[in-house]
Symmetry: C2
Subunit: 321 residues, 2 copies
Amino acid sequence: MAMKLDARQAAELLKQQEEILILTHKSPDGDTLGTGYALYYALTAMGKQASVACSDPIPEKYGYFAKPVLPLTGEPGFIVAVDVADTQLLGPALEQYAGKVDLCIDHHVSNTLYADKVCLYKTASAACEIMAEVIAHLGTDLTPMIANCLYTGMATDTGCFKFSNTTAHTHRMAAQMIEAGADYVRINRIMFDTKSKSRVLLEQAALSGIEFFFDDRCAVITVTRELFVRSGAQEADLDGVSALSRQIEGVEVGVFLREKEDGSFKVSVRTTSQVNASELCKIFGGGGHVRAAGCVLSGPLEQAKQTLLCEVKRALEEIHP
Amino acid sequence: MAMKLDARQAAELLKQQEEILILTHKSPDGDTLGTGYALYYALTAMGKQASVACSDPIPEKYGYFAKPVLPLTGEPGFIVAVDVADTQLLGPALEQYAGKVDLCIDHHVSNTLYADKVCLYKTASAACEIMAEVIAHLGTDLTPMIANCLYTGMATDTGCFKFSNTTAHTHRMAAQMIEAGADYVRINRIMFDTKSKSRVLLEQAALSGIEFFFDDRCAVITVTRELFVRSGAQEADLDGVSALSRQIEGVEVGVFLREKEDGSFKVSVRTTSQVNASELCKIFGGGGHVRAAGCVLSGPLEQAKQTLLCEVKRALEEIHP
């Protein structure tokens, strides 16, 4: 079982190290990269040798802070994992370090406490929110570059301060980053107001086939394999598309059907009213949360859709007969 | 010329009044309503008689705080305009008060100083940010309902803390509102993650006709009268559609063409690189800002488009010959 440290204790431990390897999770996002690079810039400013590693290539959009860094010249003296809830998330290139993590700095409730020591704040919106405190205790300057890193993680993990994980503390930390010179206007434009052409084409194609049922109380969006390939979009683009069905006013059950390789359909159900998405998906062997759940239905498409709609209808009738 | 007051002085003045009429601007948004209702709830909690008025109906989505209120029983003893930069924005039903505004609380640089006294903070992201200070000086409780009002104005005027008008102070005020009980998750869902069915249909139709030019460096979205009518969308829905063209990665010039009643085209140009949108629109008698400008071109559509694209091409060639 990992020994628990608070942000001050984590900073004290880091102060004693000289060659530090920082591990981020695979399929890197703004929070793991922001946390990792903020620590990297802070440690190198203190005259220490540090490096950041990731199993996957770093998406170009993070290029304003996630610069290529040199590997350590020797074996790492100390290994820190940031925003990594489980060693499986290290990915193939970093799994060699799975049993050797000295310190994990994270905010996931699901953290498996795999590291020797863990600095875990479960109510933090982002690992960056914790790193902001660690860096304050390290006593190094909060440079504009570090502020860019930390702002990025907090903004991306909260949907720009929109989601329920945002707290008053998150806003106060964001205020500090702005005062320290974070280029938040540019960051927000890159993170929230930029879509790839292929994603726009995918959205358009998916929306052109949107169907409404039961007095518009249910909306269904379908992405077939053919449509997905034709758009040239990436897997990550599907998240945005799946969100569309539940953003429509009056829609109580938003359904997203995505055709898998084997011709079956991955179903995401999002609900905004009293309909229990988890109960609905359980009927088909799936599950999830009250307002967001999923299951898999076998094809063909029309059959999968009808099977599901039959249960959606029943669920809607139960609340307004 | 209006006498200038700071938030404390504005609060002192309000404390002396008994029957207060609060005026909001026409086509009401989250900031004018949030500011007006926050003041209404604060004043009535102090035992004063107050009322909020607006020339236009209040959109349903603000119903969680903008409740119907009784008119004053007699003539108003004191008139406050909130987030109203110019008396023309009062609208037909309130223009009778144009010359009688005792106090204006606003954040617009363009405020015409029409009121007897003005509490104007030009760097405030929203009038709600100023009202938060006024209410603090009034000394009444920051109730969850008042926090809902104030959070709404700050979030909507900043695009959920995304735009350049957001400051460190805005974030600190948002933190206060969350601590005071603002239902920010619900508010953000209503304001930022809810679209009308007609808006979704309009977006889909507009996107299906999106055109790319000059190696995808220019994107053009067109909304004809026919397409607009068919979608059943509202004027306000067009803002979202016009933003789409400049959200696509790699697009340096986003053009939105909207057909007017007389068959001419209203053109919005948004640029993300060195292209000067204002210079571009000036060629056609329009103008605006460096990155956002507009003009009007006569139809038919193909002619308007070609005329504009010719200049877009020239502008793009100038920066990367």
